[in-house]
């Protein structure tokens, strides 16, 4: 590469990074200043679309440069390091102040510890900044694309949603400017976090997402909202303390702050002394952010926030930052005892969260537990750390982000439509909201059934964990639980009255548009798993330099694995199955058209149906009294209820985290 093109590439790279970070920040500032809602919505939509364009251009430039872009610290014309240090300190001071304002001793103590360590480490200590300030590889690109495509879609959805939401609340003065401000700052921080290689910078953006999530969860200002937001802040601050200590430990032993170097520790032979402890501390930080057991309570509490916030926290931002960190450093502990314990923590969370989801009637809570379960599976795969496992982890990050973003928006729409988020109230939803129902069902099926992506990753996870029984068994039992809670919910939603009715659903344009785009994304990602795998996952696994010999290829209509030679040891051609799925989808209108109203009969109620005109669930009881039959799903509250299970699962999770620290301290 001659000097000019190199220079040109560097300028292109730094501009793209600045655009990815400053564009949402500018959008944030404008949304905060502009008080007129129509103009603000325009700004929101324009910023969102611009973010999508920038991230797509990012993908183009990355491929042009062969899959890795490095921006060296020395070449950045101004001292970014000091700017970031100052923002970091200001942020922590603000959180300490917030702790005093909330009168929460934990918040200010935890933030205070971080402040003290940060100042001591960075200001009174000459730190060697890493050579590469920003490194963008395929994994960073995936995070960037998720937060710059799904995030803006959710924000566009929010423009329509928040209007209705505030009408429900009867607010005198709109609080939307601050709301959109925080949402965009959140996305800016996620983008910055995805491209940072300097782990101190990563840490700053990590803390920014913590603060943003506090502000968003507490947005409605109710007592409950403040309480749950504070809990989120406390738990994530605890993670932040682990994070900063992890950085200090790793720096003291190895002298590097580069995330790239950290993930290469195993290949460079730098794993010695207290390095495993540093890695374990970073994993601990990842657990808190990704709401692993026993830290799940903050994510469950977060659903008091307006729906777009839940959608954002659960899909492309916040919780994904935690798993991103763990996946990023996973090659450093691949195949070690630490990796196995991390895998167990994730696998156990997967099982426990899926079991608890069965007992929930609140739709949003089921989604929340399902998120926790899937994050557990991602962390589990990262802990196993083989080719297949890390491939599954990255794929699951993608599939889960799209599907869960969609599902939260669907439940939010349903909640506005029927005034409830109770699953049992969703019976016969098809009659009231056919558009939303169809999309919701596709979203749910994509979380549960083959050949959709999430199931493929579950299949890969099981195949990757066969050599680790302690991890395998929780995954297997957890996936049995998963089937139960999704199947129950889909069944309720699809319940149809026998009376023919074709209602038209009225939704704001922003809602319809985002739901349609996301559902198209869900289908596209699952159908396009082979290019997705070959273009993004496979090269990233190459960068990881893993030790195991298993091969993973995407060809012949699916993903296949080999045992290092050419013998195929497992694989699945998912494409032919989509043909069956689409064929079935096309038969639905056919049968709708073909079934004559005369041939539709009321259901069998022991031949004692009271009246054909009513809903078909009233029957003649003894003494000709009309009885109503009500059938609910089974919820197993007596065994799997939160009050029965949470204590025990938390105890096991705490024990396994203690074991994780136990195995790394020599």
């Amino acid at each position: 590469m001659d000097f000019l093109t190199e220079r040109g590439f560097f300028v292109e790279g730094i501009f793209l990074i600045l655009a990815a970070i400053l564009l949402p920040a500018a959008g944030a500032a404008l949304s905060y200043v502009i008080k007129k809602s129509s103009i603000r919505n325009c700004i929101v939509v324009i910023t969102s679309i611009a973010m999508m364009v920038v991230s797509s251009y990012f993908a183009y430039v990355l491929y042009k440069n062969g899959g890795q872009m490095v921006i060296e610290t020395e070449k950045i014309p101004f001292d970014l390091g000091w700017i970031i240090k100052l923002i970091d300190i200001a942020l922590l001071v603000y959180i300490v102040f917030l702790g005093f304002k909330l009168k929460n001793i934990l918040v200010w103590v935890l933030a205070g510890i971080q402040l003290a360590v940060t100042v001591g480490f960075e200001v009174f200590n000459k730190v060697v900044e890493p050579h590469a300030a920003f490194v963008i590889d395929y994994l960073s690109l995936i995070m960037l694309l998720l937060s710059s495509i799904i995030g803006p879609l959710i924000i566009i959805f929010a423009t329509g949603y928040m209007k209705e939401h505030e009408e429900h609340q009867h607010l005198k003065k709109s609080r939307q400017p601050k709301f959109f401000f925080v949402l965009f700052i959140f996305l800016a921080a996620m983008n910055a976090l995805a491209v940072s290689n300097n782990i101190m910078w990563f840490y700053l953006f990590w803390e920014v997402t913590t603060l943003c999530s506090f502000l968003l969860i507490s947005h409605d200002g109710s007592e409950m909202a403040i309480k749950n937001a504070t809990r989120a802040l406390v738990l994530n601050m605890a993670g932040g303390v682990a994070f900063i200590f992890g950085i200090v430990v790793l720096y003291k032993v190895t002298g590097t702050l580069s995330l790239q170097d950290i993930s290469m520790f195993q290949t460079t032979g730098a794993v010695k002394g207290l390095v495993p402890l540093g890695l374990a501390l970073l994993c601990f930080a990842g657990f808190t952010k990704s709401a692993q057991f026993p830290f799940q309570s903050w994510l469950l509490g977060a659903m008091v926030a307006p729906t777009p916030v839940s959608a954002l926290l659960h899909s492309s931002t916040m919780v994904k930052a935690g798993v991103y960190l763990v996946v990023r450093i996973a090659p450093a502990f691949s195949g070690t005892i630490l990796g196995h314990v991390v895998a167990f923590v994730g696998g156990f969370t997967f099982m426990a969260a899926s079991a608890l989801a069965i007992s929930q009637r609140n739709g949003k809570k089921v989604l929340a537990y399902s998120t926790i379960a899937n994050l557990g599976l991602i962390i589990c795969c990262a802990g196993i750390g083989t080719h297949v496992a890390l491939g599954a982890a990255i794929l699951l990050i993608i599939f889960h982000a799209i599907s869960k973003g969609l599902l939260f928006l669907c439940v939010g729409t349903i909640e506005h439509g029927i005034g409830s988020r109770d699953i049992e109230d969703m019976q016969g939803l098809m009659k009231k909201m056919p558009f939303t129902t169809v999309i919701t069902v596709i979203g749910m099926i994509s979380m549960l059934l083959p050949p959709f992506g999430v199931l493929i990753t579950k299949w890969m996870a099981i195949e990757a964990s066969v050599n680790l029984p302690i991890v395998l068994i929780p995954i297997i039992i957890g996936s049995a639980f998963t089937v139960v809670f999704w199947a129950k919910w889909i069944g309720i939603i699809l319940t149809m009255s026998y009376k023919v009715k074709h209602p038209v659903e009225k939704l704001p344009f922003s809602t319809k548009a985002t739901l349609s785009i996301l559902v198209a994304g869900v289908l596209a990602a699952s159908v396009g798993i082979i290019p997705l795998f070959n273009k993004l996952i496979s090269p990233e696994l190459g960068i990881f330099k893993l030790v195991d010999k298993l091969g993973l290829v995407g060809e012949k209509g699916g993903v296949w694995m080999t045992n290092g030679t050419t013998t195929i040891t497992g694989g699945f051609a998912s494409l032919p199955f989509f043909l069956i799925i689409f064929a079935l989808m096309f038969t639905i209108p056919f049968f709708l058209y073909k079934t004559k109203p005369d041939n539709i009969k009321p259901p069998y109620v022991c031949g004692e149906l009271a009246n054909d005109d009513i809903r078909g669930i009233e029957f003649m009881g003894p003494m000709d009294k009309i009885e109503n039959s009500v059938v609910h799903n089974y919820y197993f509250k007596g065994v799997l209820g939160e009050n029965k299970l949470t204590l025990w699962t938390n105890l096991v999770a705490i024990a396994s985290i203690l074991i994780m620290f136990g195995v790394v301290v020599k």
């Binding site: 099981i462 049995a480 139960v484 699945f572 079934t595 539709i600 669930i617």
Partner: protein
């Protein structure tokens, strides 16, 4: 394998499986009748039933029922094709689960207390047997070092030597999968019990015919899975599979229906317990 041979095998299986499956269920009805001191229907009765149901008026309880039935059928056929193509066993189990979920959705789509309760119980059954099926796949992987069914046939000796307890657990859950007593609580065999016909109460005419057809495909697949444990020579596997099927009739006839709580407990304790025990020694032996 040549592509034409593949297509030939697939077409052959699609055509032959229901014929054999139907005959077997005819034999089932005969033997069951004899065990109960009845004469029983003719051997071809399942086929007569099938064609009669096909010719019935297309009554439906809602407009989408048929879609679920088709999903049930197509995914069962797909998993059988995966079996004869010797594909990934783990994925086969997931595809089979899709087929089952489809019929559960069909039963739940109707506002009928009987089919709804039947569906709930069917979900519980899935929760009970799914882990055992997955553990079976893991056991086979640990023996043959591959998830492909192909590897079972290239493996040096029959799987039963390494996986006796996994096989026992599999036979145990077979009773659930074939919906026989003591585990027939999602679709009781006799139409006058508390559940009526449970899961299938609200299906009629051609829909019911297709459900019956799917059962035949499923039966062949299950017998195929049994024979995997004894593959090489394949006829030994087939004979043992048929013997196991006969065993199921006996169990069906000598036991009464139990509650789902009991089933869940016993399957998880005995089924998962046995499979894990077996897998444990495979790990230690490696």
């Amino acid at each position: 394998m040549n592509i034409y041979v593949k297509i030939l095998i697939i077409v052959g299986v699609i055509l032959l499986a229901p014929i054999v499956g139907g005959l077997l269920s005819g034999i089932d009805r005969r033997i069951t009748a004899r065990m109960q001191n009845r004469f029983g229907p003719p051997l071809l009765q399942p086929f007569y039933d099938f064609f009669k149901l096909m010719g019935k008026e297309r009554i439906a309880v809602n407009q989408t029922q048929m879609v679920y039935v088709l999903g049930y059928l197509l995914f069962a056929v797909a998993s059988l094709i995966m079996f004869v193509m010797r594909q990934d066993l783990l994925m086969l189990i997931f595809i089979l689960a899709f087929s089952n979920i489809s019929i559960i959705m069909g039963a739940m789509s109707v506002r009928s207390p009987f089919s709804k309760i039947g569906a709930q119980r069917e979900i519980i059954q899935m929760m009970a047997y799914e882990p055992v099926l997955l553990l079976m796949v893991v056991g086979i992987f640990l023996t043959t070092k591959s998830f492909m069914i192909e590897s079972v046939f290239t493996h040096s000796r029959p799987l039963i030597y390494d996986l006796p307890l996994v096989f026992a657990a599999f036979i145990f859950i077979l009773t659930i999968k074939l919906r026989k007593s003591p585990f027939d609580f999602s679709t009781s065999h006799h139409g006058h019990q508390e559940l009526v016909k449970g899961l299938t109460t609200e299906f009629s005419g051609p829909q019911l015919a297709l459900i019956e057809l799917t059962h035949w495909y499923e039966l062949i697949l299950i017998l195929g899975l049994i024979s995997l444990f004894f593959a090489k020579p394949i006829w030994v596997g087939i004979i043992i599979a048929l013997a196991c099927y006969f065993l199921e009739f006996v169990i069906d006839n000598i036991s009464a229906r139990m509650t789902w709580k009991w089933m869940l407990k016993i399957t998880w304790l005995v089924g998962i317990g046995a499979a894990i025990t077996n897998i444990a020694w495979l790990y230690l032996k490696r």
